[in-house]
Symmetry: C2
């Protein structure tokens, strides 16, 4: 490494990357869709609907929970997992503003002046 450069990435970039990483596995995408499709919160049924072991699913659930994208509350013997829809909406906005910035009209792109 030479010397100057940016010392690090911005918080915004790191935050977006963190959330993107949470969605970077089909199992986690599937879990979110599953929770969104259920009227009632489900628990271990999640594992039954995915082509993965219960242990692995649990691990994916923990990752989503670590980012607070989902929440789990113990309900007697089972655990009720729910989407944190407020946060998901926020995240949606983050992505939207990122993509909007990347696709605005006078951006460097094939077809524009520079290429």
């Amino acid at each position: 490494m030479t010397y100057a450069k940016t010392t690090a990435f911005t918080d915004e970039q790191q935050q977006l990357a963190r959330v993107a990483k949470a969605l970077a596995h089909p199992a986690r995408v599937a879990i979110i869709q599953l929770l969104a499709s259920k009227k009632t919160c489900i628990s271990g049924d999640i594992a039954a609907e995915l082509p993965l072991s219960r242990t692995t699913v649990s691990q994916h659930l923990q990752e989503l929970k670590a980012l607070d994208l989902i929440r789990g509350e113990i309900e007697g013997l089972t655990v009720c997992y729910c989407l944190n829809t407020d946060l998901l909406r926020q995240v949606h906005e983050q992505f939207t503003s990122f993509f909007t910035g990347a696709t605005h009209t006078d951006v460097c792109a094939p077809g524009s002046a520079c290429c």
Copy 2:
């Protein structure tokens, strides 16, 4: 593994995860923002603006290129990298429809009937 279950994840889930993975590192987020902020297409200057070695940046560029999110055309001695804005717009829509599905009103969530 017991027996029934879904044998695999849907194409949609895999596609979303694939793109999310591309955004799952701050360097790649930064690269896209950098390309979006330049009027003219840049090349190796990218590495100069990131806290990473040229080799590593090149690796990240290849990953983005592999998904066709960016394109690079050799322009004499330098390479002109550009955003594939059309694809980025498509990806934006994919994310939007995913988030919309996950945040529609009667979803299982804290505060809703089920929790």
